[in-house]
Amino acid sequence: MLLAELMEQRGVLAAGEYSYRGDRYSFKGEIDDDMARMAAIMSRATSMSQHMQVGMLEQHCPDCGANPAQGWIVRGPQFTVCNVANVYAFLDNGKASINAVMGLMRERLANAPVDLV
């Protein structure tokens, strides 16, 4: 299970998964159910937006290798959120390695569906 694997990474505070339909979410870590629901709603919205953006980039530059979107990262002063496909992780900037977490997520989710259904 990827969420459990992510939680084993140094500095990962929480990890979660959401459905693109918006009707389901699961999580592990230092957040409560309300926060996990909010995180799922925000992550889903951001993923939808990235999906559209790389679609536009592809139309602009078909050979650029943008499409399909794999994920996104939001970096705050203390915490970072990494998202690949429909899985996210909350990181403590002081302890976690974004590179390691993104590497693990991209490896495990390499074959995730890209049509957001």
């Binding site: 990235q50 650029c64 399909p68 996104w72 002063p77 203390q78 590179n99």
Partner: protein, 117 residues
């Protein structure tokens, strides 16, 4: 060397750019053999500004709702495409190949080092 030339020293750097508050391209560098062009970078820079704004809104909402801190003000956003990632701090950005991407280094180069980074 300029800040953009510094960004081009990052592993796998394909392009670097600076933009105004609207996202309009001000200056850019493109690596040899990269499929990127100025028009694509201009669109990408607009997306970077939009993504920073949305992430900032989310951080504000999240921190208010969860009565926590650590995300606001958002220091950086990364769009992870199929073959490359675009890392931005809202004013400058760098496009790096996913195979070689060092997100930590990119955020450092963009000054998004966090309070505990």
């Amino acid at each position: 060397m300029s800040e953009l030339d510094d960004l081009m020293q990052l592993p796998g750097a394909q392009a670097a750019f600076s933009n105004n508050d609207l996202g309009e391209l001000l200056d850019h560098r493109i690596a040899e053999k990269s499929p990127m062009d100025a028009t694509t970078l201009d669109l990408l820079a607009h997306m970077c500004v939009a993504n920073m704004a949305i992430a900032t809104m989310q951080a504000r909402g999240w921190e208010t709702s969860s009565q926590s801190g650590g995300f606001y003000p958002v220091e950086g956003f990364t769009l992870v495409g199929m073959q490359w990632s675009a890392v931005t701090n809202g004013r400058r950005g760098v496009v790096v190949s996913n195979d070689a991407a060092d997100y930590e280094a990119a955020y450092r180069a963009l000054g998004a080092v966090g309070s505990e980074g």
